[in-house]
Amino acid sequence: MDFLNSIILLTNFIIVPGITYGSQLALGAIGVTLIYGVLRFANFAYGDLMAFGTMIVILVTWFLQSKGITFGLLPTALLALPVGILLTIAVSLFFDKTVFEYYRNKKSDPVTFIVVSLGIMFVLNAVVRIIIGPNDINFMDGHKFIMKAREFKQMTGLNEGLALKSTQVITLITTIITCSILFYFLNKTKTGKSMRAYSNNEDLALLSGIDPKKIVLLTWIIVSILATVAGTLYGLDKSFKPFTYFNNLLPIFAATIVGGIGNPLGAFYGGFLIAFSEIGLTYAYKKFFKYLMPEGLEPSTLIQFISTDYKFAISFAILIVVLIFRPNGIFKGKVI
């Protein structure tokens, strides 16, 4: 019984939140890594692109709600998602046409790209704050819980409860769907293969008749879809605040580099690695050991590696460790 209790405790406080947060990071990290692999720069405007997409989704959600349209048990935001994706694609392509294309044709160095992406970051930051304001917005509606901790306790008779929010399940399912489609596309279809070829060797790809314009267009479309989906899932699960989205860029970068920058599968794993270490290392295991240890041997301290304040710092530290030992990431990077 104690063993079961301890397992449920870990599931409730580490595994379920870890999977949710990991999925959100993974989706974001795949976007960053695709931009890096194909367009060859680290896009600092990505966090704000996520915020922009989520903002559109929120606005459409409000519009739908005012018309009395909801999605039943599911959040209305899922209905609004396609509109958000379309507008985010439009914005990405607009910035690509007006800004990035010029530097791409000039073959500027990566630092120039980083700097102009900073400019776009400022602009998007302003646009989001001007349109929707800097405040916290909760746009989750529909059914909140699939299973409440109390219900679980009554059902199983255990001491520990297992709460399952519907956003957590939605996040997981959406991530699975999105990632399977994406990896199928990249690995099995001809266009996906040409994208990988372009990322691997630009000149050779050109020689084989791959149209770089098409590849760039495709990349921005995929990236915008990923950004909007990741942003909306994060907003549904926690809440929408432009500043948090900017801050999330940092763990996303960490996940990207840990997984090997330019490597989507690595970014996927990197997202989960970062999420689980953030949550796992800041969790206090006192209660967990209380269940497992025989009586009288219970730990007196919290058994916490580092306090929760340092949650973000952990992902940064992991990144730095990875950069020292394996600068190319845990999985070999730079090839899609």
Binding site: V99, N125, I130, F243, I320, L323
Partner: protein, 456 residues
């Protein structure tokens, strides 16, 4: 130096902007803008030394500014004796422990020849040291934080004049930059950008949450000043005389003595604020000119030429026998020290230390916009960038207000769109920054005052 055209542009822009604001808004606002411009100029020069001279991309500006700010507390705040007696020993021991860990890692790294498991061993030491550190320092920390939690709850500082803290901040930053540089400088440009950004995130987290050190989010207010306080000025004989002297024509027009005294009082109050800011401006100006002088000297010395050579072609510089790694580390420390100096200046000027206000957008990327807009590799450019960008940053809200009012003039006061736009006026500054950066990068990629290569 005076013959330099860049210097003239810089100086005239600086003067014109200040006078314009002084005439149209008020002299108090003009001087506080000037002061922040001067501080920004120091920050921009720090970044410019790293990026312009050596091509090192440092997105960790925010972290170094925070360390500089922390230095003001460690130096100027009076110590809290109860806290020292309660937990001082524990903190000292854990500090020694930390130093021991750092040194053992450095020694292992240097002395033991490259072995397959060397890195893993170092990693193991660092990981093990974190819970140990927590175990050693934990009890003392909770003791310190529980003493007068509402008013102090930290160790305090050394109770020295705050001006020392500027130098202490610079030294602390150089030390941190040494460690950061050892770890990160070998990385490629974009990796370096990301990792320094993340390191600055770690630094901010530490400053924010180690309350025994910095009071964390509870902030430290009422710091010392290197200049007199307004209240003291208002009560001092010579200052009132001075105000009387400057406004003698205005005062002599009024015949009623009571009215005269009340006007004088008012004048003394407003001019005391201006006087304090003027004192700050003078000190900051001295700092800016000193740093400018030395970095111009350095840029035009053999060392500066070597740095540019390393920046422009690392391989060639290496082939000529220059120690690129060592020089990169040195210039990274130097630039960070200047940024830390500016961070201490900023906190001194504000008179308070608020760790939660350090955000990358304002304290890292804005400084970068200053450097890129002003001119990479040119000290005058950095100063000009500091001025222009800070001016736009401050003035874009009133400007946006004006534009919105013109365009929505025909709309009703309670119109939803108008109200919404008026509420979001502060965010137009981000828009201006972004557009400014994009335009400059497109049409003047070397900045407003490009680097000048002197050919002998």
């Amino acid at each position: 130096m005076i013959k330099n055209s860049d210097f003239k542009i810089c100086f005239s822009v600086m003067t014109v902007l200040t006078i314009l604001v002084g005439l149209f808004q008020s002299w108090g606002i003009a001087l506080s803008m000037l002061n922040l411009c001067l501080i920004s100029a120091v920050m921009a020069m720090g970044v410019n030394i790293q990026w312009g001279f050596a091509g090192l991309i440092n997105f960790g500006v925010m972290g170094f500014l925070a360390i500089g700010g922390l230095a003001t507390i460690l130096v100027s705040v009076p110590p809290v004796p109860e806290a020292w007696s309660a937990g001082g020993l524990g903190i000292l021991i854990s500090g020694l422990f930390l130093v021991a860990v750092v040194f053992s890692v450095l020694i292992i790294n240097k002395k033991i020849p490259n072995h397959k498991y060397k890195n893993y061993f170092i990693f193991f030491i660092i990981i093990l040291s974190i819970p140990l550190l927590k175990f050693i320092a934990g009890p003392s920390i909770s003791k310190i934080e529980s003493i007068n939690a509402a008013t102090s709850g930290f160790l305090g500082g050394a109770n020295l004049p705050i001006i020392f803290s500027w130098f202490v901040g610079a030294i602390l930053c150089a030390l941190v930059a040494f460690v950061v540089g050892k770890v990160c400088l070998g990385l490629r440009s974009d990796y370096l950008a990301i990792s320094t950004l993340l390191v600055s995130g770690i630094i901010i987290t530490i400053v924010k949450h180690e309350e025994w050190l910095s009071r964390g989010v509870k902030n430290v207010i009422g710091l010392k000043r290197p200049v007199p306080y307004e209240v003291d000025l208002q009560n001092s004989e010579w200052f009132i005389k001075l105000v009387e002297f400057f406004n003698s024509s205005k005062l002599s027009n009024i015949l009623d003595p009571d009215e005269k005294i009340s006007l004088l009082n008012q004048l003394v109050i407003t001019s005391s604020g201006v006087f304090v800011k003027l004192c700050f401006s003078l000190i900051f100006l001295v700092v800016v000119i000193t740093i400018l002088y030395f970095s111009e000297k350095a840029l035009n010395s053999p060392w500066g030429r070597m740095m540019r050579a390393i920046r422009d072609n690392e391989e060639a510089a290496k082939a000529m026998g220059k120690n690129v790694v060592k020089q990169h580390l040195f210039i990274f420390m130097l630039g960070s020290a200047i940024i830390g100096f500016a961070g201490a200046m900023l906190v001194t000027y504000d008179g308070l230390f608020t760790p939660s206000s350090y955000q990358p957008l304002r304290y890292t990327f804005l400084i970068w916009v200053m450097v890129l807009l002003g001119g990479t590799g040119n000290n005058y450019g950095a100063i000009l960038g500091g001025f222009v960008v800070w001016f736009i940053w401050i003035q874009s809200a009133p400007f946006a207000l004006l534009v919105i009012n013109i365009f929505t003039n025909h709309l009703d006061e309670t119109n939803y769109i108008k109200e919404h736009l008026l509420n979001s006026v502060p965010y137009f500054r981000y828009l201006m920054m972004g557009l400014g950066l994009l335009l400059v990068m497109r049409y003047r990629p070397k900045g407003l005052l490009p680097e000048k290569i002197i050919k002998n």
